[in-house]
Symmetry: C2
Subunit: 440 residues, 2 copies
Amino acid sequence: MKNKKFKVGLIGFGTVGSGVAKILLEDKDILKAKTGIDFELAKIVDLDTTTDRGVKVPDGVLTDDINAILKDESIDVAIELVGGTTIAKTFTENMLKAGKHVVTANKALLAKHGIELYKLAKDNDKAIAFEASCAGGIPVVLALRSGLVANNIQRIYGILNGTCNYILTSMSSKNEDFPVALKKAQELGYAEADPTLDINGGDSAHKLAVLASYAFGYEIEFDDVWVDGIEKVSIEDINWGKKMGYTIKLLGIAEKDNDEMISLRVVPAFVANDEIISQVSGPFNAVSIFGSNVGETMYYGRGAGMLPTASAVVSDIVELALGNSKNTFDALEFKPKEEAQKHLLKIDSLKSRFYIRLQAADKAGVFSKIGDILAKHNISISGVLQQEGNSPENTVPVIITTHLTKQIDVAAAIKALGELDIVSSEPTCIEIVDIPNDEV
Amino acid sequence: MKNKKFKVGLIGFGTVGSGVAKILLEDKDILKAKTGIDFELAKIVDLDTTTDRGVKVPDGVLTDDINAILKDESIDVAIELVGGTTIAKTFTENMLKAGKHVVTANKALLAKHGIELYKLAKDNDKAIAFEASCAGGIPVVLALRSGLVANNIQRIYGILNGTCNYILTSMSSKNEDFPVALKKAQELGYAEADPTLDINGGDSAHKLAVLASYAFGYEIEFDDVWVDGIEKVSIEDINWGKKMGYTIKLLGIAEKDNDEMISLRVVPAFVANDEIISQVSGPFNAVSIFGSNVGETMYYGRGAGMLPTASAVVSDIVELALGNSKNTFDALEFKPKEEAQKHLLKIDSLKSRFYIRLQAADKAGVFSKIGDILAKHNISISGVLQQEGNSPENTVPVIITTHLTKQIDVAAAIKALGELDIVSSEPTCIEIVDIPNDEV
């Protein structure tokens, strides 16, 4: 391996691209010392060749011509960092066909076209590496691929979006409403000007689809994930959760039961404070993975940001250069979509526990009416909290937590409760995720 | 890679060995599906060939003759699980010389003879893999080796011994004294009949030496680590720490500063409750690694146990079979011991914060005497707590926390404080580890 050279072509010179360039140029000696390999940043392609990115790039490296990478046979790997699912797909396909490995941080691309692209890579005897696509700098794909290879992966619980975790942490610690926390997150650079894909759970769902495919070995896409965002999470519910010992998190959950049935969802969820994942705060991400032999493991770190994400991209470049990624990629197989569909549980049949809050009239008979509706929908009550005191218009908040209940039953009960004349505003409902003990 | 066969020889059929056999035999199909490789458990060598380990081993596999592995050229890898540093070393050397890769879970062996064995492996064009030697089932060696390869590793904080963490968690949550918590841990199987090497910090120090060598690229041995155990940790100190927002952990700490100076220690330490590592409880382990580009990452899971440890051993077997471990191992280099020694900081010059508790006479002038001694030893006080009330013999507990102070100064001050006539029992001292924010 000594004195081997490995040439890198970078497509997209934005935030992450700048980080990758910085590491390849400024940490060249570290990489050489750890691997014996000379990594050369041969070309960077971006439409904007003039903006200063704070990285000193050698003359002749930055260009706006994709052919500078595509047609240079000496370039071993193309790093796709343009984002989106259209031109990024074309670039990826063309680079694979041109005999280059591809490294990508593009979860949307993989969640939509991953399996097709993996197949194309194999047909061309190349590999696609995508550590940076899920949970940024945290080497969680590596853990699934190699560290936990001796396990049947049973469950994944992920805090996969730093923007959402930052906002929920701020709301909880500073008693802020969602719009206030969002605005502050934007001011501090933790949320984009258009934060839609983060806060609606879409970004987390892309990452969950990629992780679940990889963990369970099925062709799983974004559309297979049931998604709810954090826009409707209120400070009232967060505070009630606190009183009961719960922290709210936007969780990506992928579970496979003993009958090989898979459920996939992204939901704001209450998690008990003594679960380690509930303590992951601010912009940090974490992924808890349950394996049949190892039990629970968790991986924690920065899920976004220039250098953390670039750290993951460069680790992929190194693993490709060493030949490791190709070995593992060759062994990768997914059961096809038709097969996957047979194993996907619909959200309706999901059983979980739930927190329900409603504002009810403070008079006799109220509990009986609420209880009737819950019973009618097969919902068994685990706990009830009713606050004393003077609430608006002689109403009081009533908090109910349920035992294991079907999601479809809870949804119907919430609707029926909202229609009661004694209930003065739309009830809120948040899933309570009881992370099980491992059994090893 | 399809239809490749990989033959495994297992030396040592104890707890972990049984787990490895179980996975290789019972999860053969999972391994085949994930890698395309047929793993065959060819031989198990153990002096005891009769005890039932709860794993059904095919006829002819279990033997007491080491030559069954050593002389079988078709066996690709030997798994050393005999423990200790004498016969385990001989087996490892002989297996390498016989042209076999070696997988080991033996941190004591590696912390004492690792560099010598790595060299022997390279001379024989083989690899040694040791994921299971540190933090059991948690793929932390893999993270250092591959996931964080694009980083200058700056700091490691590890909860590396499940026995200690279980005992400290029990003491803290159940208000138990050390002997009581130890006894319960023994009854539940979380501590050995002879728990010395766990509770005196030795086991953690072995693991820290292995991780630090690997992370920093220097030849670091067990003797380079300053070690303190948990035997003297009292429930009083734990409870005072709680009041100040700290949790006690036995931490293995390896730090490298900007001048490439390295400090290594295993100490019972107070960690602020808002640090995620402080929330790692019971028998779980966790390793927090700071990289120059990725910032803080943390890896959490079971650090011991039959199947979790076996999960790590089998991941090494798989990575060897795929060719990945060999690629990475070949690139591994350590600066020699003489070079390492120039970079090791002595514990005396370590600067940290400290918690000091003493039982002082409840009368005028006490604080002045204590303050004099601290000032004389260049110790600046960060906080003081003195409890009101009737303590034994008209004394009161006084708690002092310091600003950054040299360890040698604190040690001298503690001695001087203990000699004061107004101080009625030996003062206790616990390091306060302020885990820094990452800077990415």
